[in-house]
Amino acid sequence: MYLAVNPATNRIYVCNSISNSVSVIDGSSNTVVATVPLSASPDGIDVNPTTNMIYVALFLTGEVVVIDGSSITIVTTIKGVDAFRVAVDAATNRIYGPQFLSTNVSVNDGASNTIIASIPVGKGSAGAATDSAANLIYVTNNTSGTISVIDGSTNTVTNTFTPAILDPGRDCARHDIQPPLCDGWPEPSGLCRERIDGENGVHQGWQGALL
């Protein structure tokens, strides 16, 4: 279930992957005001607030459906995008489609609804978002465990980073001890491993759940 917001109209669009539709929510009342049926399961969605066009990725068919936000009707379908998700840069009217299987991001022109470039990123590119002011595109690489940052002006990746927790101990909510007395990394059980110190406080290792 993916969703997008149009700040200009305060409407929220939600992909209903099982029922093959998009729900339109009025942000002021938080109620569903319309539903757009689709031919296949929608996987990703984003809005261009300037043109009021909604882009919906149908990963199974490789298509991106374009919905007019004013009339809430489908105006066209872009074929061959193969995007898992979509992200729209309203300033450039470009639609970015991370392709989970090919580790590329397709760049689509919103005016002509054609594919104009393909940018290699990490493995399992699963999501994207745009920073229109800076002309940057963020892409989540699910398999690589990284996030790629694309410069929209050059269509090149300028940074790829692994998200890192600066202070791991703060998330040990279910642990009765905190770092440095535990290693600070919660296991699936929710428990961290306890630090074992020998004589004179020499660190010997950690005890706790098996990895």
Partner: protein
């Protein structure tokens, strides 16, 4: 009981991303939690609590609201920006 040297950093499998504060903060979902990321040093802040299988994230920078779609219960949770800037 086992003894293991050193700690193990968590490995994120990022799924969705949304820009919270342009140039400053992005939000990331890994289908388990939603985390804010400081763009300047790539560090992860405190997770948003109270979510079950968060999949999609969207931000309305005009109304300063965050929308999180959760697959398990078919809901959209609405957060206010206020206070979230202190998560990093």
């Amino acid at each position: 009981m086992v003894f293991i040297k050193g700690g193990k950093a968590p490995f994120f499998e990022p799924l969705s991303v949304a820009v919270l504060q342009p140039g400053k903060t992005v939000l990331m979902s890994d289908a388990i939690n939603v985390w804010p990321i400081n763009e300047t040093n790539n560090t992860v802040g405190v997770r948003l609590k109270g979510l079950t299988s968060p999949i999609g994230i969207a931000v309305n920078q005009v109304t300063q609201k965050i929308y999180v779609a959760c697959n398990v219960n078919n809901t959209v949770t609405v957060f206010s920006y206020q206070g979230l800037t202190q998560l990093l």
